[in-house]
């Protein structure tokens, strides 16, 4: 008997065992009278059941105000930080103070107060939340990034400027390469903080998870309230782990 024959015989044996196994399962189904169609579609329906009935929080409605607020806020904050950095600002007299004032102003007011103000102006909904988070990101990102811009090595900047570059070229070739890594790091940190804030702004009328929280607090449904708080904690810990991983990766890549 060579190897090939043994292999074939084992194969046949296995085939018999497996078919017997499935036959027994089929008999079980037949005996218990389970409808096959219902059984195999159960998994899909289970998912939608959980999504619709047990966990009525639309995840995009939690994530998206934070994301859009972050993008708009970071774009505005980068421009303001460029003006508010004392060493590279294009106009020391006016632009510096305007940039500084706007960053300090949006940082001084807490994100919940921003939310309330925007809700009174544009009404309930995620637009108000997005605007509030934009203001929050301007304050947070603008402060950290302008401090980072103030710490750049001015020798490189002066070299490029003395070669006859204009302001745009000085920024693109002298300043930006120095702060690129810090920009990404601060961006990820801002995302982390912004996400944490976006779970709560709904409490004051800006949609998302906070709205469910407020409803259940007002109805004195403490068990549901704690369930929502636990889901917020889980989401935040997840995003924190993600941002820590990304910051680690960026740090390693630049080393």
């Amino acid at each position: 008997m060579n190897n090939n024959e043994i292999y074939k015989r084992n194969n046949a044996k296995n085939f018999i065992y497996v078919s017997l196994f499935f036959f027994v399962i089929y008999l079980c189904f037949l005996y218990l009278g389970i409808d096959f169609e219902r059984f195999f579609s159960a998994l899909g329906r289970f998912g939608s059941l959980i999504a619709n009935r047990y966990y009525p929080v639309e995840i995009p409605y939690v994530l998206e105000p934070g994301y859009l607020g972050l993008v708009i806020g970071v774009i505005i904050a980068s421009i303001l930080a460029y003006f508010a950095a004392s060493n590279i600002t294009p106009s020391k007299r006016i632009g510096y103070w305007i940039g500084k004032f706007f960053i300090i102003f949006s940082r001084s007011i807490h994100e919940t107060i921003w939310t309330i103000l925007f809700v009174t102006i544009v009404g309930f909904g995620m637009l108000a939340g997005t605007m509030a988070l934009t203001m929050y990101c301007i304050g947070f990102f603008g402060k950290l990034f302008s401090e980072e811009l103030e710490n750049v090595d001015m020798k490189l900047v002066e070299t490029i400027r003395s070669n006859g570059a204009n302001e745009m070229q000085v920024f693109a070739f002298g300043v930006w390469p120095q702060v690129k890594t810090a920009f990404t790091g601060i961006l990820i940190y801002t995302w982390d903080v912004c996400f944490r804030a976006s779970t709560i702004i709904g409490f004051f009328g800006a949609g998302g998870m906070g709205w469910y929280l407020k409803r259940n607090v007002l109805q004195l449904e403490y068990a549901r309230t704690s369930a929502i708080i636990v889901s917020i904690i889980v989401l935040v810990i997840f995003s924190e782990a993600l941002s820590a991983y990304m910051r680690d990766k960026i740090y390693k890549e630049t080393q």
Binding site: S108, T112, G123, V217, I229
Partner: protein, 270 residues
């Protein structure tokens, strides 16, 4: 020669895959932006209700002006907010000392068990928003300044204890070993070896956290803990918009005072 060619090929292949990755990343980024815009601005916003630009400006114009009548009634809440931040930071420091002791790798008593426990406490403290902490404590101890103090304390624990623990881990080992060699106990090591080294940074951190806590304590009133937040809440619900502006002015000036103080104090210490 062929080897040389091969490396160039490899390099360009690597480069193209890198470019592809970058393109995919940016396309994904922009797609998510469009998706968010679609969800927020097209699906969720009722433009009819917001009205035209003129009506928004009209709504904004309500906020212009100050309400001088409520100003005397805001001095006490402003003071209360300030004290709440101070006490909350103090209590947070007290609570964060044991957490930092457990969470520093080189002094933690039970190895990875207590280390992991302390890290978990820090993460929970930091990941729960101060409004949620305030809600929990308003439910637990009732209305007033006390839940605000407790909420600020619990929120501060994560940051303060993390900084203290990191400083303990980075402390110079030579004085610690000298004290150990001279027969000092664990307490002696802590008291004479570690604390003098980490004190300036820790005090700087506490002042920084105090500065942030002033900002936080100004909104504690929104969910039932006292202070300027409560005044803001009242003015908002009475639709007294100049009053709202006045309260915001008080909050901002309090925060600016706190920021100047903390800047000055930190400069003096470090």
């Amino acid at each position: 020669m062929s080897g040389y060619q091969l490396t160039i090929d490899d390099y360009s292949k690597q480069n193209s895959s890198k470019i592809l990755k970058k393109v995919i990343f940016y396309v994904l980024l922009i797609a998510v932006i469009f998706l968010s815009v679609y969800f927020i601005i097209i699906l969720d916003t009722d433009w009819h209700r917001i009205g035209s630009g003129a009506s928004i400006l009209k709504q904004l114009s309500y906020f212009i002006g100050l309400d001088a009548k409520i100003m005397p009634h805001l001095v006490l809440p402003a003071f209360e907010t300030f004290l709440m931040a101070c006490l909350g930071t103090m209590l947070g420091l007290l609570l964060s000392l044991p957490v930092a002791w457990l969470g520093a790798k080189n002094v933690t008593p039970l190895g990875s068990l207590s280390f992991g426990f302390a890290r978990m406490l820090m993460t929970i403290s930091r990941s729960v928003h101060e409004i949620i902490w305030a809600l929990i404590f308003v439910g637990a101890v009732g209305l007033g300044a006390l839940p605000g103090i407790l909420a600020l304390a619990f929120r501060s624990v994560g940051f303060i204890s993390k900084i203290i623990a990191e400083n303990i881990e980075g402390a110079d080992k030579k004085p610690i070993e000298a004290i150990k060699a001279a027969g000092g106990s664990g307490f002696d090591v802590m008291y004479y070896g570690i604390i003098p080294q980490i004190l300036p940074t820790v005090i700087g951190t506490i002042i920084f956290e105090w500065d942030i806590n002033i900002r936080r304590s100004a909104v504690m009133g929104l969910v039932g803990a006292g202070g300027l937040g409560l005044a803001f809440f009242r003015q908002m619900h009475m639709s007294n918009y100049p009053g709202v502006t006045t309260v915001i002015l008080f909050i901002v000036s309090l925060i600016v005072i706190g920021e100047i103080l903390s800047h000055y104090l930190r400069k003096k210490i470090i």
